[in-house]
Symmetry: C2
Subunit: 291 residues, 2 copies
């Protein structure tokens, strides 16, 4: 990263983690890597904290555009195996911006009502309003991941879903949404350590589900499902980023930069006043005491 | 606060700001006061930051109770005149806890669809799920505040609404919700300063609405509407707190303590594992490599 021709800031993380198209080989992406950052954990945490002011400023600008009827919004999609750090990313990275402007939806196994509708029905209902940073903790991608691995949908339906997802995301982008899709990529060994750590700590038992071990045992099938989904739904308008997740601090820093880059691309300006500032000031200055 | 018989921590703020019943006289409550805290602004900000760990721990326990089917939730209601600091409280106080466990709803002027229903319809739809800290930035109280001042409802309907609110909140409490109602109490002079500051700063123009000055001109009518609403809806199960709001740091600290007190009263324990920890550990330790 010392070569001055290399991208820096958000562009460095985008360029390091954006898929290039075709079927990705997840075994070739090091979950322990930190290719867009030269420093250690301490420096990485400091760098993340250092993003806070700019993230908060841009998020407030985004929120302000609501007032003038703009339709911009961010949709950050977080996908990954159990313990890959979706929750930690929410806390440490998304937690850097004003909670007023954030709308988080955690998708669980679909309810009976949700199953009675098309898989995108519940997703559409959860879309952020204009001005918001929406975050999906799991998403419509579960419907081509666990659905593929556990054969909850037949092959023709899976095919239909990849296309439906691409159409849906293109529609969102057309409406002014910036879609940022992150796969948090951890190693099976790291997952084992994290699951063991949950078992060792009684305050973490509520996060542990014996079913997580069953899912883990079909890890190669999930890897394949991810690789297919990433290939089929990595588009120019809604690209995928694969974020190495074994180092929590790097994962947080990388997602922070992707969020920053998304906000920067909107080139958000503070809305112009739709009133005469001097006139309003005069009203306030001249007024009789009101209380 | 040096008298050792005085309450400390959350209890000190609750005792200082909880209404005692009957018609409150808001002119007798100093908006610049800081009765539950001895220190200055710097110490107050430090004290608020110092609440962060305990708030985050208790909020996570609350969230964890979802996993075992508990029905507890917090509903923090923020009311106050324009610029009274509802947004700042969200950012600085509510922002201390994990955004995953927070559900914020900002109520604006009702839509046509909302107006076609009873005033509590949109409120019920926005209630937090069990395990969440829900925050209402404005609330059903607008329907007895602006509705009274601007005669959007006739006197009989207003009477009905006070009773309906009490029934509704009692129902919430019966269901396991802790309801914390805060009126952020600022002086008219402080509001004028804050409105002028918004006019002076182009990055704040989007927050300014000329209609705010019109509302300000009927300040005494709002004060009366608040006093009546506070009297009619201050109940044992869902009491009101009037928080001095002229000092932003004190307001944040006070609401932080009320939120802390609400969480403490739930006496939240980490859920017991519903699986055999040793058995799950053995499954993980003994397994063949999965990837």
């Amino acid at each position: 990263m010392t070569d001055s021709s290399q991208p820096t800031g958000a562009a460095a993380f985008e360029s390091a983690h954006r898929l290039s198209g075709g079927r990705p080989d997840l075994t070739a992406i090091d979950p322990h890597g930190k290719p867009a950052f030269d420093g250690d954990k301490k420096a990485g945490k400091k760098a993340l904290a250092g993003l806070g002011d700019e993230l908060a400023d841009l998020q407030e600008r985004l929120f302000a555009t609501r007032a003038v009827g703009a339709r911009h919004r961010i949709l950050l999609v977080l996908q990954g195996m159990d313990t890959s750090g979706k929750g930690g990313t929410l806390r440490h990275t998304v937690g850097l911006v004003d909670p007023q402007g954030v709308a988080i939806t955690s998708f669980k196994a679909p309810t009976e009502e949700e199953l009675a509708h098309d898989f995108l029905w519940r997703i559409r209902r959860a879309l952020p309003e204009p001005g918001f940073v929406g975050v999906f903790d799991r998403s419509h991608y579960e419907d081509v991941l666990i659905a593929r691995v556990r054969e909850l949908a037949d092959p023709a339906e899976l095919e239909r879903r990849y296309d439906a997802i691409n159409d849906f995301e293109a529609e969102l982008v057309d409406q002014g949404t910036v879609v940022v899709k992150c796969m948090l990529h951890i190693s099976a060994e790291e997952q084992r350590e994290r699951l063991l750590a949950r078992l060792d700590d009684p305050t973490k038992h509520w996060k542990f589900n014996p079913g997580d071990i069953d899912e883990r045992r079909v890890w190669p099938a999930y890897r394949e499902a991810y690789e297919i989904a990433l290939e089929r739904t990595h588009t120019e308008v809604a690209p995928w980023y694969v974020i190495p997740g074994d180092r929590k601090w790097y994962r947080n820093l990388a997602v922070g930069h992707l969020l920053l880059g998304a906000l920067q691309r909107l080139d958000l300006q503070w809305p112009e006043a739709d009133f005469d500032v001097a006139e309003q000031r005069a009203r306030l200055v001249a007024e009789e005491p009101v209380a």
